[in-house]
Homo-oligomer: 175 residues x 2
C-alpha cells in the first residue's frame, strides 16, 4: 500500500510518501515540505496549504493518508495554526475519498523506533535507516511525515478499517 | 454589502448572513447551524462541515466572510476541534475567492453591543434588536454568527482592505 503522511504545520508542513506492506521495509516515494509565509494573511496561507496537499494527493494517488494528531499541550503560540493545518490536511485526504487516520506522536515513535519516548534525532536516524536513504531527510518535518506514513503501513491501516466498520454498523442501525 | 459570518465549532457551527452598509441597521438574510456527529470520524465531520459551508457560500454569494478568531485559552477539551473548524471556514471563503476577515470575540462584542465584556444573553438580545427580529435566533451559535457578520458590515471591511493593500505592497516589493 502507498501512504501519504502529513506532519501538520502552518509555516512548515511535512509530507512523506512511502510504499510497503506490514512487517517489511518500506520504500521511499517522495517527501516535501510545504511552506507558507507567516507574513501572509491566514486565508492565503490555508489556501496555499490546501492546494499543495490536494495536488500532492492527486499526484501520488496514495491508498491512505496519515496525519499527526495535534494536542492542546503543544506550543501554545503555534498550536492554533497547527490545528488549522491539521484540519486542512485531514480534509484534503477526505475530499479525495481516501481513508484518513490520525496518530499521536507517541504512537508514531513507538511504531518506528520501538519507544514512545524517542527524540527527534532518534526518529530521523530510524527513518533514514528504515528507508535505506543515503542521507537523513531534511528538514525534520519531512522525516516526521515519513515516520507517520511508515507507522500507518506497519499498522496495516487496521485502525481506519475498524473505524470504518464501526461507522457502517452505526449508520446501518441508525438509518 | 452581504456578509456571511461563521462562529466555528466542530459539533455546532453557526452561520449567519446579513446585508447592510456601515452605520445603518443590517437586514437578516438567513441563519443556520451546521451540526456534525461527535461519534463520526474526524475526516467525515470535517468533510461535512466543508461541504455545508461551501454550499452556503455558493447559495448566498456574500461579498465577504467573517470568522471568529479562536484562542488557545478557550475550553481545552474542544479547542482543537474549534480550531480545525475555523480553518475549514476560512478556507471555504478563500476557495470561493472572497476576502475573509477574522475577529476576536471582544471585537465583535464591542462592535455590536458597545462593550467588549457583553455576555451571551446581551449579545443575543442586541442581535435580535439590531436585525428587528420577532424572536431571538436560536441556538446561540447562530446569534454569534450574525453578530460577526454585523460587526464586519459596520467596520466596512476596513481591516481586510488594509490587509490586502499591505499584502499587495509587500508582494510588489518582493517579486
Amino acid at each position: 500500500m502507498r501512504v501519504l503522511g502529513v506532519d501538520p504545520g502552518l509555516t512548515r508542513c511535512g509530507v512523506g510518501v512511502v510504499e510497503g506492506v506490514p512487517g517489511r521495509p518500506c520504500t521511499l516515494v517522495a517527501y516535501y515540505v510545504v511552506y507558507t509565509d507567516p507574513e501572509d494573511d491566514l486565508p492565503l496561507r490555508l489556501l496555499h496549504l490546501d492546494r499543495s496537499l490536494t495536488d500532492l494527493v492527486a499526484e501520488h494517488r496514495p491508498d491512505a493518508v496519515a496525519v499527526e494528531r495535534v494536542f492542546s499541550q503543544h506550543n501554545v503560540r503555534t498550536v492554533m495554526g497547527t490545528a488549522q493545518a491539521s484540519g486542512i490536511a485531514v480534509l484534503a485526504g477526505a475530499r479525495a475519498g481516501l481513508p484518513v487516520t490520525t496518530y499521536t506522536p507517541s504512537e508514531v515513535k513507538a511504531a518506528v523506533t520501538g519507544s514512545g519516548q524517542a527524540d527527534k534525532a532518534q526518529m530521523t536516524a530510524m527513518v533514514t535507516r528504515l528507508l535505506r536513504l543515503a542521507e537523513p531527510p531534511r528538514p525534520a518535518d519531512a522525516a516526521d511525515a515519513l515516520a507517520l506514513a511508515i507507522c500507518h503501513v506497519w499498522r496495516g491501516g487496521t485502525r481506519s478499517k475498524l473505524a470504518a466498520a464501526a461507522q457502517r454498523a452505526r449508520r446501518g442501525g441508525a438509518r
